[in-house]
Subunit: 369 residues, 2 copies
């Protein structure tokens, strides 16, 4: 694709062609260390969600620090991870469609694969596909956590599905997936905690119900960057699956922590580097628009403060003043996306910077489909 | 990257793994024929903007039908087009930054390259880079058409810049670029026409002013899918640069034509194919969210009507009923993006379908940076 151009190691960051997706490697490493330490201290498994970075290199860094495997959202991501040598992949999502089930079942010949189910018909199709491929796949029953999300209701419906998994020879019932999506960005800590506790009680009841029917949950998995420490401390979940913590973004920066201050458990380590390419009084246009930074949930923050990213087109962003003067023609700015996951998905490469210089260029291995 | 999986020609569309970016090839061909015919009849050059499809194949189809060359927005796109054999590329945008200017100047050794300027300092840098590369580059002075857009004000400022181009040996003054971005999606035709006429008068005045100073404009270029026929009939513009017409999208579908009816000069030929992957009463979740369809400017339309795409996450979209019943688990839906350009940029391949079967798979050559 486009991008025959690659920055060479040693190139000063200031000389990068833009827009570029830049990772502050030291901040990244601190984030990875911090989450690994939290999981260790809490005695839960860390299975980071790699949908955020889609990078085999960063997944490997997470495994080196003790992660038990990775989570992905799609069969494409699973294939990219396994192709890069990652040997334990949990597709934390349902897989529907004959083609995708075939691909998943085949992949299970090369690596340990686990997948979610929330429907008996899909479970049948999965069992058949895995049987035909001669492989074995782990299954987590996904518990519904909100009206607009996937998952089977807790209690009896969940038990029925778990029994069906148990009765399917090619499949291994592994446990319950209960990622509380709506809780992740609840801004104030008391409400976020309350939402987590309500969800966790339902999970506990389902674990107990399954237990009374002789079905034990080896894994109870959930928890994103917004609630990771809460599920970790719950004594119900034994695995957490945060993703965004590696990079952080403006959406999570807006959460508040337990003490009511800004959520800063992790540092912003990723930004889109852009250049001012046109300039008039009161207007500075940068070369990063909708195709360079995901704007589906809001406009990016300009690092350094004082300047506001006000509007956008496909390849342009318009900065307006908000105090300090606007940067001049040719100056670089650093943009923090509202959501880093879909922003990373726009790029073929992550540019890792250390001490103001390019240190590494990593492919976004699992970009696209 | 991800996507080792490719659909094979002959595969029924119903068997495609999703999400997939699908092109109805016959509708595409009709769109290409129609625009080529309009330009021919109006006696203007057609230089389609390939930022929409980023495909060397589709660009070639446009050239086969009489296009004089292509427009791109970035140096990356220019490199991908030239790399695919396209020999006349106009970067309808300013290029700022030493690295990008070097790449552009080098590219001009392999193909005819034209670029925009709106700043004297950038013009100096461009001239130097081209001189050092030993190449020659055409320059269009971009006229400002709205407060938040690039471009130099019409009249004297435009003349000054044109004179500066003329005085730079490595550069060829080619003409004026005046793409009226704000007019493209003005819904009612009389207002869209009025906005075009206001802009066109300013262009005419600048053309005349340059003429009185001995500088002739070989090319006067502008006009997108929303106004293509207006610039074509203006007798001021001699080149039009529409992009989106090849595919159409929900944003342009909302324009009204000269008779007050819906704008249907071109057909929707592109959609995101998605599959229902989770289902409960009143809820159908499809496997196409923010990473599969650009949502920066609004939610997609579901083809076939009656069902509404209500909310989204990164890899999921939630359909709610609006009359007819929701599709069942495993059923496919076709989503028309609000904006097709940034949607195409999410994919590595376009799947061309004819008579319900995969007919061709084309790389999105200029995807990303």
């Amino acid at each position: 694709m486009a991008g025959a151009w690659r920055p060479a190691p040693g190139l000063p960051e200031a000389d990068l062609d833009t827009p570029a997706l830049v990772v502050d490697l030291e901040a990244l490493e601190r984030n990875l260390d911090r989450m690994a330490a939290v999981a260790r201290a809490a005695g839960v498994a860390l299975r980071p969600h790699v949908k955020t970075h889609k990078s085999v290199t960063i997944a490997s860094m997470q495994l080196e620090r003790g992660a038990v495997g990775v989570c992905v959202q799609t069969v494409s991501e699973a294939e990219a991870m396994v192709g890069g040598g990652i040997r334990d992949v949990f597709v934390a999502n349902e897989v529907v469609g004959a083609g995708k089930l075939r691909r998943l079942a085949r992949l299970a010949r090369e690596a340990t694969i686990t997948v979610c189910v929330d429907d008996p018909g899909n479970l049948d199709d999965l069992g058949d596909a895995v049987h035909r491929a001669g492989s074995s796949v782990g299954v987590m029953v996904e518990m519904n956590t909100a009206e607009h999300r996937a998952g089977v209701p807790p209690g009896e419906p969940l038990l029925r599905l778990a029994k069906q998994v148990d009765a399917t020879p090619s499949l291994r019932f592994t446990g319950i997936q209960a990622y509380n999506g709506v809780a992740q960005h609840i801004r104030d800590h008391p409400s976020r905690l309350a939402a987590t506790e309500r969800n966790t009680s339902l999970v506990q009841e389902s674990v107990d119900l399954l237990g009374r029917h002789g079905i034990s949950c080896k894994v109870v998995s959930g928890g994103g960057t917004g609630t990771y420490n809460l599920e970790a401390a719950s004594e119900v979940y034994n695995e957490i699956q945060p993703g965004t913590y590696v990079f952080m973004d403006a959406d999570y920066l807006a959460n508040r922590n337990r003490l009511g201050g800004p959520f800063r458990d992790f540092e912003v380590s990723l930004y889109v580097l852009a250049t001012v390419m046109s300039r008039r009084p009161g207007i500075a246009i940068v070369d990063a628009g909708l195709k360079a930074i995901s704007l589906g949930n809001g406009l990016p923050q300009v690092m350094g403060g004082g300047v506001v990213y006000k509007r956008f087109a496909d390849e342009h962003g318009v900065l307006g003043p908000s105090g300090p003067p606007l940067p001049g023609l040719g100056k670089q700015v650093r943009l923090i996306p509202v959501n880093c996951d879909p922003t990373v998905n726009l790029y073929d490469h992550l540019v890792g910077v250390r001490n103001g210089e390019v240190d590494a260029v990593w492919p976004v291995d699992a970009r696209g489909y």
